[in-house]
């Protein structure tokens, strides 16, 4: 198979053992890389005792995987996975940056990280030089300081390996902030200052392994491809179409902070109590004022939809952040009653510095604020912090408490679902209706009540194997490719590991036949649309579904109650042009059943033995029998 470096690195942090390993061509053809391959590795290694594996324990496996298209498609991502401390299933969580390219250039398609280091450590890779290094100097440090140290130290280290080379460029770095170190379930695996793989909570997994960072520098070329001319043709064609997206390039997802609220009524406001606003202060040009870079992107990107915002004066002076992008505009903006770009930039910066996921962190901050509003959490409970809507400094203070697990922060660090469980117990009141999540994952900032947001249909989050992940929403039909592509298409992107924005958006995309031809030009394997949607994607879906249903040890999902929207999504929208709208329960149940049937699950949402048989997943049948899901 072309497009692969040909080997993976397995690093055991407990023993310090480092070895190379390969996967058979059959496995690469079937599971591709990234999310698909992660699912296969996790099932093979942990499937038999999945429900007993603690996601934040040494038995969990942290996967950092490229895919064959990484580096060849404009815009580069890397896929992080493992058993998720949020869903207790498998989530393929991607983050942008050059890491995937550097890793492939170093000669590796991915990293399989097991065990737990005795002391804070980081992994350093420079081609075939692989070392576990001491992270004492940066343990406890936030993003900027950690990166400053790692860049300088690593360049020195590379210079001793590559003597007389000339100036050495910085390596690529994935790292965690305090939120990850302290094993919170809302921590992201971070890159640069602002990029994060947030869904899944793998920052906490890195922290549980005492792994502060992974540093990689590759001096080789990207692996050979099957047909370079065709690969470059696709590269040019995708770029050409990206260049035409004048406004998306100009404003990025940051036009969404106004649009999703004002036009689509699908933006979280005050913990999803509302989804509509039309605040002029949140128009795109109000953010533009703070941009010092209007086009910012990562390796190969043609859109460069990111912006770089800096607060050079005022009370939040010193903050650096991206746009912020839409999810942060919403979750650490409107969701907290914040409608000022300056405050939003500052809070996004704080969240980034702590290494927290903007969505998961913003969701739990909004949840806490609503409990405070309703009088369930008192100022005393919050140790003097008064999280009133719009109070940016209060939210910043609370975020710090979460990242360091101090006081109430220790409970909120568990994320909305688990925090709700604990607070309900302590207070003797059921607060689960204020927790906006699906299967432990706070949903993306795209509401489903108005029916106007293309990202998710009514079953989008409820039936997704990645739960609340808006970049992987379930769809009807499952192979839907318009307007927003469904979960099976997202699964291809996350497995071949390429950027969704350069290839798959509601308003622009590479057609299915094109994307599979692109894949063929890289790998040499002729993958048809049917083969992907009717076989390979379903195999990955069933494995992800099985591990999600097995769950454990601290939570287990039941399809009849948990393949559902958060309680709040069943309340009518209280304001805006869509006032009164909500989901239709009967229609939802019909769609859910339809979805189950379309992907080969029974009416209870359990994978059918005959489907599993057809997909060759015999051990899954045995496992589901063992736990009583099938007779």
């Amino acid at each position: 198979m072309r497009g692969y470096a040909g080997k993976f690195l397995e690093i055991d942090l407990s023993s310090g053992a480092i070895k190379e390993l390969k996967f058979s061509e059959k496995i690469l053809v079937d599971y591709i890389g990234g999310r698909g391959l992660a699912t296969k590795i996790l099932w093979d290694r942990l499937g038999s005792r999945w429900e007993k594996v603690d996601p934040l324990g040494p038995e969990n496996i942290l996967l950092v995987l490229t895919g064959p298209l990484t580096g060849y498609a404009p815009g580069t991502k890397i896929c992080i996975s493992g058993k998720s401390p949020q869903s207790n299933g498998v989530i393929g969580s991607t983050v942008a940056g050059e890491f995937g390219v550097d890793l492939k250039c170093a000669g590796y398609d991915g990293l399989i990280i097991t065990g737990e280091a005795e002391k804070p450590s980081y992994i350093f890779i420079c081609d075939n030089h692989v070392e576990i290094k001491d992270a004492k100097a940066i343990w406890g440090k936030k993003a900027r300081e950690s990166l400053k140290y790692l860049v300088k130290k690593s360049i020195e280290d590379i210079k001793t390996i590559k003597q007389n080379y000339g100036e050495v460029k910085e390596p690529s770095i994935l790292y965690v902030g305090p939120a990850g170190e302290n094993r919170t379930r809302v921590a992201a695996v971070m890159a640069k200052y602002t990029h994060g793989a947030g869904y899944g909570g793998y920052g906490g997994v890195m922290g549980s392994k005492k792994l502060k960072a992974i540093v990689v520098k590759g001096f080789g070329p990207l692996p050979e491809v099957h047909d370079l001319d065709t690969v470059l043709q696709f590269f040019r064609e995708i770029s050409k179409r990206n260049f035409e997206l004048e406004h998306f390039r100009r404003f990025g997802t940051g036009a969404g902070g106004y649009y999703h609220g004002a036009v689509q009524s699908s933006e979280p406001i005050r913990n999803w109590q509302e989804e509509w606003h039309n605040r002029d202060s949140y128009r795109p040009e109000e953010f533009d004022k703070f941009w010092v870079k209007k086009y910012w992107g990562d390796f190969g990107c043609a859109i460069t939809c990111l912006k770089l915002a800096v607060l050079r004066d005022g009370k939040f002076k010193g903050a650096i952040c991206d746009n912020p992008d839409y999810e942060n505009q919403a979750y650490v903006g409107t969701n907290l009653g914040i409608f000022s770009p300056e405050d939003n930039i500052y809070l996004s910066y704080i969240i980034n510095e702590l290494g927290m996921c903007g969505i998961q962190g913003g969701a739990v901050l909004g949840f806490a604020a609503e409990l405070y509003e309703k009088g369930i959490l008192s100022e005393k409970d919050l140790e003097g912090i008064k999280p009133e809507w719009g109070d940016t400094e209060a939210f910043a203070a609370l975020a710090e408490k979460i990242a360091y697990r101090q006081g109430i922060g220790d409970i909120l660090a568990e994320g909305v679902y688990r925090a709700a469980r604990k607070i309900s117990k302590i207070k003797g009141i059921d607060v689960s209706k204020y927790a906006v999540h699906v299967k432990g994952v706070a949903v993306g900032a795209h509401g489903v009540r108005s029916g106007k947001d293309d990202v998710a249909q009514d079953i989008g989050y409820a039936c997704s194997v990645q739960a609340g992940d808006h970049t992987s929403a379930a769809s009807l039909p499952p192979d839907r490719d318009s307007p927003a592509p469904g979960e099976l298409r997202a699964m291809f992107l996350d497995s071949a590991v390429l950027c969704m924005f350069t290839t798959t958006l509601p308003f622009f995309k590479l057609e299915d036949n094109e994307i599979f031809r692109f894949y063929e030009a890289v790998t040499g394997y002729n993958l048809s649309r049917e083969e992907w949607y009717n076989e390979k994607a379903l195999r990955i879906l069933h494995l992800q579904r099985t591990m999600l249903l097995l769950g454990g040890p601290d939570a287990c999902w039941r399809p009849e109650t948990d393949d559902d929207n958060p309680p709040r999504f069943w309340e009518p929208l209280p304001s805006g042009p869509c006032k009164g709208k909500t989901l239709d329960r009967k229609k939802f149940e019909e769609n859910r059943l339809n979805y189950y049937r379309s992907v080969g699950w029974d009416e209870r949402g359990i994978p059918k033995p005959e489907t599993l048989e057809k997909l060759g997943l015999h051990e899954v049948i045995a496992k589901l029998k063992e736990v009583g899901y099938i007779d």
Partner: protein, 175 residues
């Protein structure tokens, strides 16, 4: 453009897309190979991306420093050409360069320096096509010291960071 050319670089505009590295390595190596690119984007601070390539100093200290006559000046474009068969990777040209631009080929035993693609720099083409315009081809003017622009990645990073982030933040995140 006729006569010697120069690649103008407007660092604040660089998006960090590194498509210049892709274009350069594809032309010179037939592969996507960032480290073998003659233009390298340094990102010593996130957000501060600095495309770094030969400044073609008026007195060409690298050419003078080479004891093997492996470096020469292209009379048409003004670029520094490397004769790979003569270069023995001693690194003296790197030491002589005020900007520390030349670097070793990552897999071969010779130095690599921007050759202006013979007059049609592909890095500039890709940067122009994407409308970033961080790189532009200009004609090489007389009575101008190109060497005065030649700074190391660290020096340029400091300067660009101060411009983008302000002095205080730049110091905090870099020094």
């Amino acid at each position: 453009m006729k006569g010697p050319i120069w690649i103008e670089r407007l660092y604040e505009r660089c998006s960090g897309c590194r498509r210049c590295e892709i274009a350069c390595s594809l032309l010179h190596e037939g592969r996507i190979w960032p480290e073998a690119s003659r233009i390298r984007v340094f990102m010593l601070i996130p957000g501060v991306e600095v495309p770094h390539l030969c400044f073609q100093c008026e007195d060409y200290p690298c050419v003078k420093a080479c004891p093997f006559e492996a470096l020469s000046i292209n009379s048409e474009t003004g670029a520094v050409n490397v004769d790979e068969s003569k270069c023995n990777a001693c690194g003296l040209c790197i030491k002589a360069c005020p900007a520390k631009v030349p670097h070793m080929h990552p897999m071969k035993n010779h130095v690599i320096i921007c050759d202006l693609c013979g007059g049609r720099p592909r890095c500039v083409e890709t940067c122009t096509e994407g409308r970033w315009n961080a790189l532009r081809v200009t004609s090489r003017e007389r009575d101008f010291s190109y060497k005065s622009l030649a700074k190391t990645p660290e020096e340029l990073t400091r300067k660009v960071a101060e411009k983008l982030y302000g002095k205080e933040i730049a110091r905090e995140v870099y020094e």
